[in-house]
């Protein structure tokens, strides 16, 4: 039962990162252009799916509460301010999809809300991951780090890193979904984004070495973990090759594979800890009656339906978004 719910949680988070990752990235890229044509094409490429993508965050949140209440309680209260800013960002960018089309004079407000909200949400998520990796101060199952206990140079670096990563994913998505100028500029951007991401990885590595983070010891104990970076490296090579050959399909999948590898790295590195080095999966798991109650309804029946539904949505909206002339 515990393993089932850990898997559902992990899958929900991974789906969230991959799916909302690219649409937050598109939001960041949206801020880089002023051209109305391109902006509409960019927004159109994620408009049919963004809401479904964000639902995975809510799913992960309620599964966390139901199946691992201790983690839900200590993590969310510890990350109070970053969560607040993330939610504010998500709300503003979310309604921008709807309200932008309803006004002309105030369109700039919603444009700013869309790109700004996306960037803030991405940055905050990266920061929270960074704070987790570095280790949140927790004593007796209760967060003890104070108002800004999550804030550190490492967390900030991770915030920048995830924003870059999402933007890369967003650019790969635009290549897949758009044509003309949007596609061309995404192709031009990707090498720079990849380079920046590589620099980020080196910085993180050096930082982790110099600070002697506990994470590093796990790697020496579990050498099979090196398989994940190898997968990521292979995916990065294919990504680079398909960018050179201007092939629209593969980059997004390769970008997603890099993210999945990174996610797998985290999950296996920290296993069995849910909050690194203080709360384990078994300590956090809700009593059997709760897990079983969830399993026999939503777990067994509704969850597979939700996966199928997501797949169908993407199938329906496959193919390129086309921009036609102005009216």
């Amino acid at each position: 039962m515990v393993i089932f719910w850990v898997s559902v949680l992990a899958l929900s988070i991974l789906l969230y990162v991959l799916l909302d990752g690219f649409d937050l990235g598109v939001g960041v890229l949206f801020g880089l252009t002023r051209d109305e044509h391109r902006r509409r094409a960019m927004m159109g490429s994620v408009a049919p799916v963004w809401d479904g993508n964000e639902t995975w965050l809510v799913v992960a949140g309620v599964v966390l509460w139901g199946a691992f209440p201790v983690v839900y309680a200590s993590l969310f209260s510890a990350l109070y301010l970053p969560l607040l800013l993330m939610l504010a960002g998500l709300i503003l960018r979310g309604v921008a999809f709807e309200f932008r089309g309803k006004t002309r004079r105030l369109r700039w407000v919603w444009d700013a809300a869309f790109s700004g909200g996306s960037l803030v949400a991405a940055f905050m998520q990266g920061m929270m991951v960074g704070a987790l990796v570095e280790g949140l101060p927790i004593s007796h199952g209760e967060y003890s780090g104070g108002e800004f206990g999550w804030l550190s140079p490492f967390a900030v670096i991770c915030g920048v890193g995830l924003s870059l990563g999402y933007t890369l994913l967003g650019a790969c998505w635009l290549i897949r979904k758009c044509d003309a100028e949007v596609r061309a500029s995404a192709y031009r951007l990707i090498p720079y984004l990849s380079l920046a991401l590589l620099v980020f990885l080196i910085v993180v590595f050096v930082y982790a070495l110099s600070e002697d983070l506990q994470v590093m010891r796990r790697w020496l104990e579990r050498p099979y973990l090196f398989a994940f970076p190898l997968v990521a490296a292979a995916a990065a090579i294919v990504l680079a090759a398909s960018i050179r050959r201007r092939r629209d399909g593969p980059p997004f999948y390769m970008g997603a594979l890099v993210f999945a590898a990174a996610f797998g790295t985290f999950a296996i590195t920290f296993w069995p800890y849910m909050i690194p080095f203080s709360i384990t999966v078994d300590q956090a798991a809700a009593p059997h009656t709760s897990l079983a109650f969830m399993f026999w309804g939503e777990g067994l029946f509704v969850f597979p339906l939700m996966l199928i539904y997501t797949a169908i949505t993407y199938r329906v909206f496959r193919g390129k978004v086309q921009s036609t002339s102005h009216h």
Partner: protein
């Protein structure tokens, strides 16, 4: 009063949940009403039902979207501000709320898509079925929320293990008698909200002399529905009062404004309760009626608040006045619905401008009644979060500082005010434009998960006609 993290967290929760409940209480009723309309359209084949359906489907889309957006915050707030509650009652409340997300997500998302795109692609009976499924989705969402809240009001089926509430009997939780009076009470509140909004819109058009066929349908159906629903609601309201009487005697005493035991008890109609002196000022009361309402008897003894230590009493003024505002709205709606239905049957409703004006102006009443009803229930539960088990003061995240919560409260207030001002303005614009020409051609990028996109840029021409909104630039192949 000391500005503490506790006080600010309570304010923040009250603010965000009050803002949120406005939209679901409207859409749950509206979804049910859309189902009725579609069934009527199928049965009678009359085009006017179809036109009214399409019109309200657009409004449903915007209100539904606002409800979803404001609901996301709720799921996080238990963890951020109420971590002790989240940890202790997580094994019970967590699974209940996860059911809410899972069941509502699936039904609403899949079938709302068919409502938007499926008219020409599915057989009519299946379209009706889809409408009913969307209504079922919103209803299920309300159901799980009510299971959760009713458990907090009257905890059943639990044991305490390692400082957590753990269920030993889920069936007891799902079939709690408290739940099965409160859930219908909330559902009826939503239906009445829908009915009055529809009737008020009809009255508005009738006053302006536009869309007379649609206005007629809206006005009549709204008023007739309300004429049946409001008395039923008053009955369930009384049943809800019974559970409070039995399970939460101090809340009941606060609502009644009863400080001392009385036998037989009088009923305080109006007064200003004063907790310092533990008396009512300027009280207007009816003898014996209190016993009759409380226990259906002419002789029963009814308990007063002074039977309980001060630390266990709710702040009297809020439940006392909120309850009276709710009941007042209920009575006003009952009169309006009955008089309006009577005039409708006589065929004179369109001639009575006074009644049209009153109906038009009545649309805030169900919202006020729903909000004050919740104020009564939630503030009346104080000082407990989980009644009798966990105090609100002990449920708050222990290390939270007032400054942190002040920041979040300001951010939420600003963001909500900003987006809801726009949202309500767009709903107003849609209502104003009316149902003419509203057989919607859906823009290609409108999706089940993007309900609001079907109403982009409604432009009103001088004839009051709304050209259908099609995004000129983006098309998905």
């Amino acid at each position: 009063m000391n500005i503490t993290a506790l006080l600010l967290s309570r304010l923040q929760f009250a603010f965000t949940i009050s803002f949120h409940i406005i939209f679901p209480s409207f859409t749950i009723g509206l979804a049910a009403w859309l189902t009725v309309l579609e069934a009527l359209h199928l049965r009678t084949g009359r085009q006017v039902y179809r036109a009214v359906f399409e019109f309200w489907l657009k409004i449903f889309g915007v209100a539904f979207g606002l409800g979803v957006v404001s609901g996301i915050v709720m799921g996080f707030q238990f963890g951020t501000n109420w971590s002790v509650l989240a940890r202790m009652s997580g094994p019970i409340q967590g699974p209940l709320l996860s059911y809410e997300t899972f069941t509502a997500f699936y039904l609403e998302a899949s079938f709302f898509g068919i409502l938007l795109f499926g008219r020409s692609r599915v057989p009519p009976w299946f379209y009706l079925f889809s409408t009913a499924m969307v209504a079922l989705g919103t209803t299920l969402s309300a159901f799980w929320i009510m299971v959760n809240n009713s458990w907090m009001q009257a905890p059943v089926g639990y044991v305490i293990q390692n400082g957590m509430f753990v269920s030993n009997d889920w069936l007891k939780i799902l079939f709690s008698p408290v739940l099965w009076v409160r859930f219908p009470h909330m559902l009826l509140a939503s239906y009445i909200t829908g009915a009055f909004c529809v009737a008020a819109t009809g009255a508005w058009y009738a006053l302006r002399g536009v869309f007379s066929a649609e206005a007629r349908v809206m006005l009549r159906m709204g008023l007739y529905l309300a004429a049946v629903l409001v008395p039923t609601q008053i009955f369930f309201g009384h049943m809800t009062g019974d559970y409070v009487h039995d399970y939460q005697p101090v809340k009941f005493a606060a609502i009644e404004g009863r400080w001392h035991d009385e036998q037989p008890a009088s009923e305080v109609l109006l007064a200003i309760p004063d907790s310092a002196s533990e008396t009512n000022k300027y009280a207007i009361s009816v003898p014996v009626l209190g016993s009759l309402i409380g226990s259906m008897s002419l002789h029963s003894k009814e308990v007063g608040m002074t039977d309980f230590p001060r630390a266990d009493r709710p702040p009297v003024a809020i439940p006392f006045f909120a309850f009276r505002v709710m009941v007042g709205c209920g009575i006003a709606m009952l009169l309006l619905a009955w008089v309006g239905s009577y005039l409708s049957r006589k065929g004179r409703v369109e001639q009575s401008r006074l009644l049209l004006w009153l109906t038009f102006l009545s649309f805030p009443l169900p919202f006020i009644a729903t909000l004050t009803g919740w104020f009564t229930a939630e503030v009346g539960r104080q000082p407990w979060t989980v009644y009798g088990l966990l105090r609100t003061a002990d449920a708050v995240t222990p290390f939270l500082t007032a400054r942190t919560v002040l920041i979040s409260l300001i951010v939420y207030c600003a963001v909500y005010t900003f987006i809801f001002a726009f949202g309500i303005f767009y709903i107003y614009r849609l209502l104003r434009a009316g149902p003419a020409g509203s057989l919607v051609v859906h823009p290609a990028e409108a999706t089940p998960r993007r309900p609001m996109s079907i109403v982009d840029e409604p432009r009103v021409t001088s004839a009051g006609e709304v050209p259908t909104a099609v995004h000129p630039l983006i098309r998905v192949q």
